[in-house]
């Protein structure tokens, strides 16, 4: 199905169009970007609709030669996991463009072009099944975002962008090494040089080699997710990025880490992953607690949200390495819910910064009477973020904890303790920003959220509510398709961890 290529090409064409439009008029790129996103959503809807019923776990497929001499093809496959995350990407692109990027006055054409290019890269990451192609898209989503942060970021943007680039690029190189290593081992065994995911999955690896190659992938995705000792780029980057960049980064780009862990770490190296699981689970629990703990003591609202992301995505790590369909389903729901809630929180933080010209919580307080709509949405998404049952985040966290409890109750207890801390930081943020007395002699008249913001954020809230009360469609889709393209029935994974 060539429509899969269109998922990547359409945003790229849109990017070029936005750039050209920006040369004509500074007001032109925004409608171009919106139109591109609408087309993209329509395209994805078409792809979803065109999925043959009962056609197996892989829902769509596309393949074309690229560099035949090196066995590199343009192979793309989409399964339910990819579809869910593609939808998340498209859905979250809308708040980025509708709410955040319209106010960009500094070369808006280039800004929108880079934003769309990032989206194209993310789309590609979620469908590529040629490892070389995957790496290509991995870099494609990285570089435009780097430029976005460097050019349109806040006061300390250069340093933050540099840190972001160093961390992701450095870990990406480790992944490239692992990809090449896997391809060469496969070539030694079969005489065929290929980067095909399904072919490489059949490679026989010694335990040590498998662990080494797996760690290469793991580090790359762990930086992206992020997993705690490797998270240090994230608070700086989120804080300094322009609002649209923060939303995209938190909402979508971090998910590529979770996706990669499921698709490439657990499924390509199942044995090594299971041996590595105790470490990964411990890191996940550490991330949940450490992120929440540091989130609690931040004064910068964007930093606070960034650390809360670290905490939330610790659940994803737990779920992925619990090696059960329950955990993976929970991790996927958690990724989607986190994308929606944290994306919305970054929109709100960005709006606060636009209005107050500060992100410092010490200079906020008592904003509710001045900005009732903004404050109410902030409260609502903070509550979603603390994992209130009935909203999407709870479903993800509960499923992950349940899967973890089956393996290791102590880790699950630590994760549950994270829920207490998440309530602590979320309510502290609400209390410090919106409640209490206003500083000094009250706030001047501030523009509240208008209908556009309320509609978009309301839609996000509705999605979270739907995800929290009826997550079954996502749960059914979220199990990653099994490795072998043909033979294995779907039950192979749903039956539990592979031996």
């Amino acid at each position: 199905m060539m429509a899969l290529y269109a998922l990547v090409l359409l945003p790229l064409v849109g990017a070029a169009a936005a750039w050209l439009a920006g040369r004509a008029s500074p007001r032109a790129p925004w409608p171009v970007a919106v139109a591109t996103l609408v087309l993209l959503a329509a395209l994805l809807a078409y792809i979803t609709w065109a999925v043959p019923a009962g056609g197996g776990p892989w829902l769509a497929h596309a393949s074309a030669p690229w560099i035949p001499a090196l066995g590199i093809t343009l192979r793309c496959d989409m399964d339910g996991l990819g579809l869910v995350l593609l939808w998340l990407t498209v859905v979250l692109s809308f708040p980025c463009v509708l709410l955040a990027s319209r106010d960009i006055t500094d070369t808006p054409g280039t800004f929108h072009a880079l934003l769309l290019a990032t989206i194209a890269g993310v789309d590609g990451v979620f469908i590529a099944t040629d490892l070389f192609l995957f790496f290509f898209f991995w870099e494609l989503m990285l570089v435009p975002l780097y430029v976005l942060i460097t050019v349109w970021g806040h006061e300390d943007r250069t340093r933050a962008a540099f840190k972001f680039f160093l961390f992701t690029q450095g870990s990406g190189l480790l992944m490239l090494l692992s990809i090449l290593g896997l391809a060469f081992v496969h070539q030694q065994q079969t005489g065929i040089l290929t980067f095909d995911y399904f072919a490489l999955a059949t490679t026989h690896l010694s335990p040590v080699l498998a662990m080494g190659l797996m760690l290469g992938f793991f580090v790359a995705f762990a930086v992206k997710l992020p997993v705690v000792p490797l998270h240090v780029w994230l608070p700086d980057t989120h804080t300094q990025a322009p609002t649209a960049g923060s939303v995209l980064l938190a909402g979508v780009l971090l998910k590529t880490g979770g996706y990669g862990l499921i698709r490439f770490v657990v499924l390509l190296f199942p044995d090594a992953a299971i041996r590595f699981a105790p470490v990964a689970l411990a890191l996940g629990a550490l991330g949940i607690l450490y992120g929440a703990w540091l989130s609690l003591v931040q004064d910068d609202i964007k930093r606070l949200i960034a650390y809360s992301s670290v905490s939330h995505l610790g659940f994803v790590l737990l779920g992925v390495f619990s090696a059960s369909p329950l955990g993976v389903a929970g991790a996927v729901v958690q990724m989607v819910a986190h994308g929606l809630s944290t994306g919305a929180l970054f929109v709100i933080a960005g709006a606060l910064q636009d209005r107050l010209h500060t992100r410092d919580l010490r200079r906020m307080g008592g904003l509710w009477p001045a900005l009732p709509h903004l404050s109410a949405t902030g409260l609502v998404f903070a509550i979603a973020s603390l994992g209130l049952p009935g909203l999407g985040n709870f479903v993800g966290e509960f499923l992950v904890l349940l899967a973890t409890w089956r393996i290791s109750p102590p880790i699950a207890i630590l994760g549950a303790a994270g829920l207490v801390l998440s309530a602590l930081y979320a309510l502290t943020m609400v209390g410090r920003a919106f409640l209490g007395p206003p500083p000094g002699d009250g706030w001047p008249a501030l523009p509240d959220f208008g209908a556009r913001h309320m509609a978009v954020l309301g839609a996000a809230m509705a999605l979270l509510l739907a995800l929290g009360l009826y997550p079954q469609p996502v749960l059914d889709l979220s199990l990653p398709a099994p490795l072998l393209h043909s033979a294995l029935p779907h039950a192979a994974l749903t039956g539990g961890p592979r031996p």
Binding site: K163, L166, F167, V228, P229, H231, V232, P235, W293, L294, L296, V297, Q298, S324, P325, L326, A329, G366, W368, P369, P372, H373, A376, I383, L388, P389, G390, F394, V395, F398, L399, L401, L402, A403, W405, R406, P409, A412, I413, A416, A417, L419, V420, A423, L424, L427, T428, G431, F434, L435, G436, P437, M454, L469, Y470, P471, Q472, L475, D476, T494
Partner: protein, 618 residues
């Protein structure tokens, strides 16, 4: 038809909450009041009708299951959004909607003039909906939705007057402390789900093996949740601060309904707790300890709402004591009567507070009985029920049921409970004497509205007569409630202690009378102005026996202090270290190229020598 009613009853307040929320403050206050009170009133009426239908033609096995939809079905785990209607949930529904409706009615008057009334009623109706979900759920995960939902509404309502920073802090404290218990509860659910494959209450209870470590652990974890929600030791610290909310909130959430959720949970899952005897003992002991500690604290308070708050904790201690001794029916009975008389007390106190300009210190009130006789009568009825004035009050009968059960479980528990009854009468009589008798210290103004007076009157009647549905055998063999609840909680254990029943009854009747008498001796109206005791014991009691300070010193401060120390993130230093090392190395290497010809020559020579050494002797 019957199966449609429970979801419909939940939907009434939920729809009202949704409309109020979506109106985003644009709805005029009268409409908001009408909508909220109307929705809860409709729910109450439907519940009443449902009760009549249910009692007149009970469904098979006295339970009615309503499955709404599959919530989570993945990897062998299945959770449903499903309701079960049985006598226990019916009683709870009656309390929630009935008392809830009266409190909404009262709030229409109490909150008049508040510009943000729509937000208030949105949270209140949402709370009623969540509480109904809690008591109706047939699946523990679904119950957890209601459990956290009521916690959230409690948070929102305690901090309703957000402009006061202290209110926000109190709200956060309430949510966090209960959240700690919620985390324990969640762990209990995880354990049960892992062991039994699902969280449907009936299924969970079927698969319990008595005495096993799983049952003990699960019961202990669930108890953690119940203790925090019901403000029992060691989690009781949040409830007195929660009085920062408007008085109707205190009446509805922090007296009548939400705080009893822990009691309901344990009663609902009583076979699990029966399988864990050690946990049962812990429940009884914790209940007794809480009961005495809180009664002592109530005796030393000066703020009328804090007196009532400590009293609530103390009364919940009674319920836990009953639960710990296996007297499920008695616990529920006391839950019901307590909901009535404590809501009444709070609302009467609220009426007083409104009339004396938001003055809450009882030592600045006095002589109010003459100025507001109606409120005085209502408060007195509530106080009498709380004190357990023999024969004529609901509180007497429910407390009596607990005392009887405590005697059977052990004389120590009984003696403690009796001491508690004495203290209860003592502190509430102190409150009544100081506030309503003696000289006037703050002159009241205005009138108590009809919308506030009607609920007071209704609840007064209930507080006095509500106990007649269930009486000890020694007085009259009336067992309406216990027989109603028997399909869920098992047949009531009324046998045993026959010989001493009369003596026990007498002791239970004399203790409150003694308390009132002592209170009259200490705080009867005198010439001089009464003053609060100020010795060390009183100060300790007033501060809740130092739990707050201890938690602050041992847990909160160190945690926050460590956090502030690590605010810049330890791990963030690692890349900086790497960068510093690189810079240092670069400076070292850079120093070699300083433009000094001779040093260049030296380096070249050194390199040559090194290469030579390597080449000659590899």
């Amino acid at each position: 038809m019957l199966a449609l009613l429970p979801p419909l009853i939940v939907l009434c307040p939920l729809a009202a909450a949704a409309i109020l929320l979506l109106s985003a403050g644009r709805m005029p206050p009268p409409a908001a009041r009408l909508l909220a009170a109307g929705a809860v009133g409709l729910a109450a009426a439907l519940t009443l009708w449902l009760a009549v239908r249910f009692l007149s033609a009970p469904p098979p096995a006295h339970r009615l299951d309503v499955v709404l939809w599959h919530w989570l079905r993945v990897g062998g785990f299945d959770a449903r959004i499903a309701f079960t209607l049985d006598p226990l949930s019916l009683v709870m529904m009656l309390v929630v909607t009935g008392v809830g409706f009266l409190i909404h009615l009262y709030a229409c008057g109490y909150m008049r003039g508040d510009p943000d009334v729509a937000r208030f009623f949105a949270c209140m109706t949402l709370f009623v909906a969540a509480m109904l979900v809690l008591v109706l759920s047939s699946d523990l995960l679904c119950l957890y939705v209601g459990w956290e939902g009521v916690g959230l509404c409690s948070y929102l309502l305690i901090g309703f007057w957000y402009a006061e920073a202290a209110n926000g802090v109190a709200a956060r404290k309430a949510f966090i402390v209960t959240r700690i218990g919620d985390a324990a509860l969640l762990c209990g659910l995880l354990l049960l789900a892992t062991r039994t494959g699902g969280l449907e209450i009936a299924g969970v209870l079927r698969s319990i093996q008595p005495g096993g470590p799983v049952a003990e652990a699960a019961a202990a974890l669930l108890l953690g949740g119940a203790l925090a929600k019901s403000a029992q030791a060691p989690f009781q610290v949040w409830l007195p601060d929660a009085m920062a909310g408007p008085t109707p909130v205190s009446a509805l959430i922090h007296a009548a309904t939400m705080v009893t959720a822990g009691v309901y949970l344990i009663a609902r899952l009583h076979p699990l707790f029966l399988a864990a005897p050690a946990v049962m003992t812990a429940i009884a002991v914790l209940g007794l300890v809480t009961l005495l500690l809180a009664a002592g604290s109530a005796l030393a308070q000066t703020d009328i709402k804090r007196i009532l708050a400590f009293s609530t904790i103390s009364q919940l201690g009674y319920m836990f004591l009953a639960l710990g001794t296996g007297a499920w029916g008695a616990a529920i009975f006391h839950l019901v009567t307590h909901a009535v008389f404590k809501a009444l007390l709070f609302m009467a106190a609220g009426a007083v507070i409104l009339r004396v300009h938001h003055q809450q210190d009882i030592f600045r009130m006095g002589g109010l009985g003459r100025a507001m006789p109606g409120v005085f009568a209502a408060f007195a009825a509530g106080a009498a029920a709380l004190a357990g004035l023999p024969l004529v009050t609901a509180g007497f009968y429910s407390k009596e049921a607990i005392l009887q059960q405590a005697w059977r479980a052990g004389p120590v528990l009984w003696a403690g409970a009796l001491l508690g009854a004495f203290l209860t009468a003592l502190y509430i009589s102190r409150c009544v004497f100081i506030v309503f008798l003696g000289p006037v210290r703050t002159a009241p103004t205005g009138r108590t509205e009809a919308s506030m007076a009607i609920p007071l009157a209704g609840l007064s009647v209930l507080a006095l007569t509500g106990g007649l549905i269930e009486m000890p055998d020694a007085i009259a063999p009336v067992h309406l409630l216990f027989r109603l609840l028997a399909p869920v909680l098992g047949p009531p254990t009324t046998e045993g202690a026959e010989g001493g029943a009369g003596v026990l009854l007498l002791a239970g009747a004399l203790a409150p009378l003694a308390g009132i008498a002592v209170a009259w001796g200490l705080w009867r109206p005198r010439a001089g102005a009464p003053a609060p005791a100020d010795d060390g014991l009183a100060r300790a009691a007033r501060a809740g026996w130092g739990f707050d300070a201890a938690y602050g010193l041992l847990l909160v401060r160190p945690f926050l202090a460590l956090g502030w120390l690590n605010r810049r993130d330890l791990f963030d230093r690692v890349p900086d270290l790497l960068a510093a090392a690189t810079r240092w190395g670069a400076r070292l290497l850079g120093r070699m190229q300083d433009g000094q010809v001779r040093r260049y020559a030296g380096w070249i020579a050194a390199g040559t020598v090194a290469a030579l050494c390597l080449a000659v002797r590899p």
